[in-house]
């Protein structure tokens, strides 16, 4: 069924080649017979463009409102008293702002303790991800050795393996190692590379000229020296991208801590928040205050490092650097 639906796209490709051919033929246009060259053409085209732009802007504004409203709703609900939340119709702005919701949430749910725990894990994961993926990808991008392409294909293939297939046996492995109840199962794997990051990093290395490495080699530098002294500083933008994505991943990780952390004093924010949620059920003012606090660091990080967030997703543009 899928194939049938998509088949019509095959022919358009030929047609767009047709478009190209026609414009490559300037004589036809200069003959001036086409309606395109009427005196008002460019003007009317401009007006049309402007109308189209206004229309597009309106759509963009509408979608933006839809996308931002949940966040707005979370923040204002966190500042309302419970009596105002249940009232109908709901108020679009709190009648009275109740900052104490936050103070009470922090008392009921040790936000700073959990934030500190989460930060420890996150920092370790970020360091591990940045170092290991940069190191591994250098091997794939800049050193030639037999079997390299085959192993790289293996890296890409691991992206296709669903994490749940290895979850249970990994749990058994970490149980045997006595690591359950510690942060080690959450941190250690980060030091052994991640297929997506290796791929990202390798793309970036490919854009760096090999002459630099050859020159350093002639000067007697080893690959380790080249990687640590020349490549690490050169690939900073890619490293920041990896740092941000791994930060986000570790900060928001729920499954890992759920599986491995059972001592309440070691909880992360995600687990703490989930426990808080199951105890508080529909006390939306507290729940929204807790959610807001957990999301704030991510939002700040996003606005500070926006450029890297957005460029990091450009899988095709590895050569742009």
């Amino acid at each position: 069924m899928e194939a049938k639906e998509l088949e019509p796209q095959k022919t358009p490709v030929k047609e767009n080649e047709g478009f190209r051919k026609k414009t490559n033929n300037p004589d036809k246009k200069s003959s001036g017979k086409g309606p395109e060259l009427k005196p008002g053409y460019f003007k009317s085209r401009k007006v049309k463009k402007r109308i189209a732009n206004i229309f597009t802007t309106l759509i963009l504004v509408a979608v933006s409102i839809v996308l931002l409203t949940p966040i707005y709703w979370m923040v204002i609900t966190s500042l309302k008293p419970m009596s105002e939340i249940v009232q109908f119709p709901p108020t679009l702005f709190p009648d009275e702002i109740v900052w104490s919701n936050y103070a009470e949430t922090i008392q009921a749910f040790p936000f700073f303790r959990y934030a500190f725990n989460t930060l420890i894990i996150t920092v370790c994961v970020v360091v591990g991800s940045v170092l290991s993926n940069s190191f591994i990808a250098y091997g794939f991008a800049k050193i030639s050795f037999p079997g390299r392409n085959l192993i790289f294909a293996l890296v890409l293939a691991t992206m296709m393996i669903p994490g749940f297939v290895t979850m249970i046996p990994q749990y058994i492995l970490f149980t045997q190692l006595g690591w359950v109840g510690t942060y080690l199962p959450l941190i250690v794997p980060a030091f052994f590379g991640n297929a997506f990051f290796i791929f990202l990093m390798r793309q970036f290395y490919m854009s760096i000229n090999n002459e630099l490495i050859e020159a350093a080699k002639i000067d007697g530098a080893s690959h380790f020296y080249i990687w640590s002294r020349i490549m690490l500083p050169l690939t900073k933008p890619a490293l920041i991208t990896i740092a941000i994505f791994s930060f986000n991943g570790a900060w928001n990780d729920f499954l890992g801590p759920l599986l491995y952390i059972h001592d309440e004093s070691m909880y992360t924010l995600q687990i703490g928040l989930q426990t808080f949620q199951s105890q508080t059920t529909t006390q939306w003012n507290y729940l929204m205050a807790g959610s807001t606090m957990v999301l704030i660091p991510v939002v700040i990080l996003f606005f500070v490092c926006q450029k890297y967030f957005i460029e990091g997703m450009d899988l095709t543009g590895g050569t742009k650097g």
Partner: protein, 310 residues
Amino acid sequence: MGGKIKVKKKTTMSMRRRESLWGLLFISPFIIGFTVFLLGPMLFSLIGSFTNYNITSRMDFIGFRNYEQMFTADRLFWTSLYNTLYYVAFIVPLTAVGAILMAVLLNQKIKGIKAFRTIFYLPAVLSGVAVYILWMQLLSPSTGLINTVLSWFQIQGPAWLFDPDWTKPALVIMRLWSIGGTMLLYLATLQNVPGQLYESAELDGANAFQRFWHITLPMITPIVFFDVVTTTIGAFQIFQEAYVMTESGTGGPANSLLFYNLHMWNKAFVAFDMGYAMAMSWILFIIILILTIINLKLAPRWVHYEGGQR
């Protein structure tokens, strides 16, 4: 002279060998990680799926009994598979269409487009429990925002997470809120489509829709393919939302949110029937593998590679 050549050959040989050793050294973390955290566990789970392993005492070989039980006796297995397929069937096409439309909108040359890009992407960075709690409030039948907005239009909103018919659509809507990541992938690709293609099409009188259908779409098919493959794999693994939004993984009303991985989780870490859970994980793996292979086989029919490279 002959000797000189020999020496040179020898040094290049040893240099090549040294180079290979360096290469292996650099990729060794991956090799170790792959063996210890992936290959080893996968082999263990394959063997374990034929046992009654319960992590503490027993690990007896029981042949295909786990698989047999799954297909014939465990009704919840079929429920969870149905729920998951339902979710995948909606998420994959909706994500692709939604993200492409968003990307086309954001690819226009309009004032303030950068601000719009930031806004469109923002929800994608937010994830985890806080977002699920936020959506539980938005979807709340009486005080939630969504039903309030619907009531402005005289529509009586459903009970969402409390109505078995509406729980999965609720999760689909929540997921669609954060398709900004996929959108960026498409946007980056759109920006690489040569502008003259559009200009010449416009001169030939192609309208906006024709330009989209005949130029944009064929040019982005490689990313559509990538997106379909990865979103399918991701959607099959839905777990956290269902776990948090159904009170510690109970599966929601009438088990309507009991997704495959949630059922597997309950078997493994609530009932401690690890052997059975590992058998389940292999069935999931095989389903995903088959779908990925079908995707790969169908790809040449519709994926258009510019210039045939890449």
